[in-house]
Symmetry: C2
Subunit: 438 residues, 2 copies
């Protein structure tokens, strides 16, 4: 960015959507980011930009900016976003910032920081629009016209004198009833859907998706209205949860997104899973070593080791993926699991037979030994069938004992399948040893 172009740039920024400005930050180094950020003179826009930037970059950026600007920008954004940003700061900076904010604002933020980050309380917005049930429709519309800051107004939450949630009205409903009626008489209390403040964010997202609503109210134990989770936050949650599952299934952690390009930290996150798999691989190797007498006699057996372990891993991975994703989307639960298990078993048998036949034929044609073909085919078919069932059972087991199936299934399924595949293959081969060597 050249210095002379700065005024033009500032004008350009005024016409650019904050989300686009945030996107631009990805391509800039930290100095350019700082320059660009200071060019935004409207603190509302700066707030929106900052809340759209990824947390890993926003923490870096804030370290470069003077404290007063930070406070000003944080006060211009919704509380739930400033909580997110403050939680990602170094602790000292966070405390400093909180103490320079207005008392009521810092109190509200500290209150929100008590909720778990992945609970309804952690993602809810506290600037919503709620009205007392004793107001008339006319008064409600007047109040709506005056309200300034409420986020995404499309529902009006109706409460009683103690702020207990009574019901919800849509703006459109307000417009289509006589202006003199009281809110308490028109509000629909039956179909009211709300979540508790400690509900897991994934469950919140599933409810919003299931009932096609734009926002869900968040209440405490006594049904006091505390906030709302809006559909745009739900979209972020769903995307984040899907990314998390992708990473976990590959033995990575979505935490590494916070580390940007810091290789050592990222490697440290991935290594525990790899080392677990490494020992799984060593155990598989040890089993082959136990069968070395068989192997020494029929060296041709070695040519099918990669295909037998590999295919077991693939089939197991398919079944595990289907179960893990099924749990995540609510498509599979414990009551439908039996049917899923038998389906995967049948699919595993069919695919095992086909692949066994193919690889058996390859073995006969290649080594000219019909018994080798038989051994390979039987081992392949059995290994794939077993793999399909492990693929269903492992994630189910982990889910049952309260471990995230996405993280636990993959190394377990893979190691289990490698071991059973090798065992089946070499036992069959040892059984037919005299036929093979003739």
């Amino acid at each position: 960015i050249r210095r002379s172009a700065l005024p033009n740039l500032a004008n350009l920024l005024k016409k650019t959507h904050p989300a686009d400005i945030a996107h631009l930050f990805r391509y800039l180094d930290i100095n350019e980011q700082r320059t660009l950020f200071h060019l935004i003179d409207d603190s509302d826009v700066a707030a929106e930009v900052l809340s759209e930037i990824e947390h890993s970059s926003s923490a870096q950026l804030l370290a470069q900016i003077d404290k007063d600007t930070i406070v000003e920008v944080l006060q211009a954004m919704p509380y739930d976003d400033s909580v997110d940003i403050i939680q990602n700061m170094p602790e000292e900076l966070a405390e400093e910032i909180l103490s320079s904010m207005h008392d009521d604002e810092s109190e509200e933020i500290e209150q929100l920081m008590l909720y778990r980050e992945d609970s309804a309380g952690g993602i809810m917005s506290t600037e919503f629009f709620c009205l007392n049930q004793d107001l008339s429709v006319q008064q409600a519309i007047a109040a709506l016209q005056e309200a300034e800051d409420a986020e995404m107004v499309f529902y009006v939450y109706v409460v009683d004198d103690e702020r207990h949630l009574i019901g919800v009205l849509s703006l459109r409903q307000l417009l289509t009833v006589p202006p003199q009626r009281l809110l308490r008489d028109i509000v629909d209390t039956e179909g009211l859907i709300s979540v508790r403040v400690d509900t897991d964010q994934e469950e919140v997202a599933q409810l919003v998706a299931k009932y096609n609503i734009l926002a869900i109210p968040v209440v405490d134990d006594q049904n006091h209205l505390l906030g709302i989770v809006t559909v745009d936050d739900v979209i972020d949650v769903m995307r984040q949860e899907a990314t998390e599952d992708f990473y976990k299934m590959a033995g990575a952690s979505e935490e590494e997104l916070l580390y940007g390009f810091k290789s050592f930290k990222i490697a440290r996150l991935r290594l525990p899973w790899l080392i677990t798999n490494l020992f799984g691989g060593v155990i598989t190797g040890y089993l082959m070593w136990l069968f070395r007498m068989t192997l020494e006699q029929i060296i041709a057996l070695v040519s099918f080791v990669p295909v037998i372990t590999g295919m077991g891993g693939n089939v197991g991975g398919q079944s595990a993926t289907i179960v893990v994703r099924g749990f995540a989307t609510g498509r599979i639960d414990f009551s439908t699991l039996r049917k899923v298990f038998f389906k995967e078993l049948r699919v595993g048998i069919i695919m095992g037979l086909v692949c066994g036949l193919v690889v058996g034929l390859v073995a006969v044609l290649w080594h000219g030994n019909i018994y080798l073909g038989l051994v390979v085919a039987v081992a392949m078919a059995t290994a794939m069938t077993v793999a399909a069932t492990t693929g269903v059972l492992a994630p189910t087991f982990f889910k049952r004992i309260g471990v995230d199936p996405a993280i636990a299934s993959s190394p377990f399924v893979q190691t289990a399948n490698d071991i059973t595949g090798i065992l089946i293959y070499f036992s069959t081969a040892t059984l037919f040893l005299d036929k093979l060597s003739s």
Copy 2:
């Protein structure tokens, strides 16, 4: 379901949210489904239930229900949902149904069926609320109060006399301006975000998520307003696209969700990918066979084959997952790819060194041969580094040539890593052959 309980059940259904009724269908067999469906006497509710049921079940269910009921229910639901359901019917039934509908409705549906299912046109709703720019705010509110069927009214789309899209107003904006002003004077035309009818649904979802909007207007080449995509459809799209990517990365296809528990059809979908991997495995085995002289002399080498191929696959899978997911969420694009490549390379080297050290130590302790330890360690470190780079390059290559990186990367990465792993391992071993056998 007992016959005597039916009237009670019918009452219960009246109080149940359609989404919950749809959920219930999962646990019922086809006869129970039919009975339950006939108990719903409000065709609006029946329509909502039907559009929430998974397509695989709804097709089955419709085959059990008489044609007149189907037509009635389809006419009670938004066009985009009925299009989805009709597209999943057997062709004959679909034609029969279309010919018994009102002419204008079947025409509209046939028009919508022309758009690709995964384009903006395929998911848009045509029942939206649009007004001419020459109306006053007062007239607009009056029109709004009369409108009945429009889906999720929270934005008013403003068009000119030829139905060109001019801009968007929120309901709240309408309430906060003087009632005499014309829509053309208050509408914001600058920040208008719209998509073309042939835009890919994934891109539509990304725009809605990025700009935090509740609905995005869909226009044709000439900017005529054709429909809107609402945020609840976007949530479905995002979930569907994530599921699709999960399935593809495991070598399965989300198409199998349509087949329910039909094992043969599901096996047929998964087999092509497995067979490709099978031949990859056979090639790896062939390479080992080429090195059989080395192997016969040092049979201990075989004990590290599973761990070398396995770890290469794991590391490659991690890098590939990060790149594929990065492309899908827009976090990675071709301009940031260089940085990602070098990050994964560095991470691969670090993890390769650690794992190489560990497995080398295991080899020394186990077989008491320091040279074997060295060979295994070097091969492991090299194989893992190479695997990390393949994991980035393969999905990038497939993306570049227009193939979905999710489907193409996994078998390719795995086979490539097995082959390079084995080659590196056995070449190193052959090089040090006299040291190893001493």
